[in-house]
């Protein structure tokens, strides 16, 4: 006695449903895998490109300690600046337009620890009276400094262990917590449209010298 239901007709439908679901699941998993792969292996191409240009310049123009570089409109030393900086006629030095800026150069193998000194003006606003600057070299953080108000122009001095730059290659990363408008508007972490008058710090000069023995 049959039920009147043809189970052969039911099974293909269920099989088809599960096949469709499996295909969709596979595609979804593929998206996740692709995203994880891309996240792990991608590097900001603009940063790589600009730092690469600075490094190429540095390799053909190695610096010898003590170094003194001046940055600004039409300065030849701007070639040592990697990503993040802008030289514009309306402001001395170069401005950091994003939260991260790089200075990339090559020296000989150092015999002693080095002292890197950044002569910068750190921007602050009413909402953010102190800005924090962190300096890393070759991926190692060497400290953070708070500046603003009375000490906004105080140079940032970074003691660099010679082991960190043993191969003579310097990738100096300057990170700031806060970006604002040169006219004092507080814009948080965002640039307001394409306002190029934003800056985090204005960098005029970088010096290096041998660190006295302690």
């Amino acid at each position: 006695m049959g039920t009147g239901i043809d189970h052969r007709a039911v099974k293909p439908s269920a099989a088809r449903r599960w096949t469709s679901f499996a295909a969709l699941l596979a595609l979804g998993v593929g998206y996740i895998a692709a995203y994880l792969f891309f996240s792990a292996h991608s590097q900001n191409f603009l940063v790589v490109q600009r730092n690469g240009r600075a490094m190429a310049f540095g390799e053909t123009h190695p610096a010898t300690s003590p170094i003194t570089w001046q940055f600004g409109q039409n300065s030849p030393d701007n070639a040592r600046l990697g990503s993040g900086w802008l030289a514009a006629p309306s402001y001395p030095g170069v401005r950091l337009l994003t939260q991260d800026g790089w200075i990339v150069f090559v020296t000989g193998r150092p015999d002693t620890d080095m002292l890197l000194r950044l002569d910068a003006l750190v921007l602050t606003t009413q909402a953010v009276p102190r800005n924090t600057i962190e300096v890393s070299i070759n991926g190692t953080s060497l400290g953070s400094w708070q500046r603003g108000g009375a000490d906004a122009r105080e140079p940032i001095e970074v003691r660099v262990p010679r082991s960190l730059v043993a191969d003579g290659q310097w990738h100096v990363r300057v990170h700031v917590d806060h970006i604002g408008s040169i006219f004092g508007r507080d814009t948080g972490a965002a640039r307001n449209g394409q306002d190029l008058l934003l800056l985090a710090i204005g960098l005029r000069r970088a010096d290096s010298s041998n660190e006295p023995a302690r």
Binding site: L24, F45, Q49, A189, A190
Partner: protein, 386 residues
């Protein structure tokens, strides 16, 4: 709402007269008026030679990027300040489908990429008007609401953008197509449209919000949490990110940076995530055109509440997600361009005013006047037409 079923007994001639003719007429009339206004403005401004031509006048703002991609493909080159661009702006700031289609049409226009872009944009806008009309009818609304919605899109402030070599037209077309076919349960077609949509702009991924909410609305949350029971309904949701991921893959192969779009957007265009209230408050206090942009965006958000009144929850979710995304990014830098493509809002507005012919006429007249002013500003390259 009852689904719209194309009457089988009506003659084709009747359909052409009732739908095709009005839509084409609105499209042609609106384009003609806007382009004549823009052209006259250009002439009166003293422009001469190539600068006084209509086609180059339509190429504003991001147009040169799209046409550059169509002609030369993608490049990591930064034109920079010397060419009037901010440092960090590159071709990777733009998704590929629109320039690809323009490239396909370029040989048909004798190698003229500009005219190919204009042709593609106008064809896409005309097709979008049809899809929007069909969508309105699919919602169970009458012909008047459908035609009024299409009319609003034609006369919407800044609708000259739909005729310019920019991606708004194709985005509107694919968005309307994906949503229409999804509502008609033509899931594979909807999925293909959604995948193409995310190859036009990354915010096309918000189609998933619409689809997800509609599925919950139609089948309940428990059914949605058991997708193996009706996998065909999830095809559009799963296919939607495909266009975007194909571009990510291309970017990775070309630059080593799958997120090249985001890299150039953040460094070149200043895009960063900021809480929407921070952006809005900053803009409202700026006292400049940006304050007006923010105020208009808030008005659009308020208009979107009509969708809730009419039970169009999925459409509301999509529109409000789109608005929030703009508010969270670099801020609202355009008066109207972002909002034109949120066609469900304009369906709701049309539905509200369609019963009042005088009100509908006044609304369209007002929108048309503002659109005319914006078209003149566009011709002059004024920032209010951005």
């Amino acid at each position: 709402m009852t689904a719209y079923v194309m009457p089988q007994n009506d003659s084709v001639r009747h359909q052409i007269r009732d739908v095709l003719v009005p839509l084409v007429a609105m499209f042609l009339a609106s384009r003609l008026v806007l382009l004549v206004l823009a052209s006259m403005t250009l002439q009166l401004s003293g422009a001469h030679g190539a600068n006084s031509s209509l086609a180059p006048m339509l190429c504003r703002w991001d147009c040169e990027w799209y046409l550059g991609i169509a002609q030369h493909g993608y490049s990591t080159y930064e034109p920079g300040l010397a060419y009037g661009h901010a440092p960090g702006e590159t071709t990777f700031g733009f998704y590929p489908l629109y320039p690809l289609i323009v490239r396909f049409f370029t040989p048909l226009m004798g190698g003229d990429v500009l005219h190919a872009g204009i042709l593609v944009s106008n064809l896409c806008f005309l097709a979008a008007l049809f899809y929007v009309y069909l969508y309105v009818r699919e919602l169970g609304l009458n012909r008047s609401v459908g035609l009024l919605t299409a009319c609003m899109l034609c006369v919407f402030p800044q609708s000259i953008v739909f005729s310019a070599p920019l991606s708004e037209s194709i985005f509107l077309l694919l968005m309307a197509a994906a949503m229409y076919h999804f509502r008609r349960e033509q899931y594979l077609v909807a999925g293909i449209a959604a995948a193409l949509l995310t190859a036009v702009r990354p915010n096309g991924i918000l189609f998933i919000v619409f689809a997800g909410v509609l599925l919950v609305q139609q089948h309940g949350l428990r059914a949605v949490l058991a997708p193996w029971r009706m996998p065909e309904k999830f095809v559009p949701i799963v296919l939607a990110p495909l266009g975007m991921f194909l571009f990510l893959t291309y970017c990775y192969v070309a630059t080593g940076d799958a997120f090249a779009h985001e890299s150039t957007e953040s460094i070149g265009w200043g895009w960063a995530f900021v809480p929407p209230w921070e952006n809005l408050l900053e803009q409202l206090h700026s006292g400049s055109v940006l304050a007006l942009c923010a105020a208009i965006s808030i008005s659009v958000a308020l208009c979107s509440l009509l969708l809730l009144q009419y039970g169009m929850y999925a459409e509301f979710a999509f529109c409000i997600a789109s608005i929030l995304l703009i508010w969270c990014g670099q801020g609202v830098v355009s008066l109207f361009r972002y909002w034109m493509i949120l066609f469900p809002i304009w369906i709701a507005v049309a539905r509200s005013v369609a019963v009042r012919p005088m009100g509908a006429t006044l609304l369209c007249a007002l929108l048309g006047m503002i659109s005319g002013v914006i078209a003149c500003a566009w011709a002059l390259g004024s920032i209010i037409a951005l």
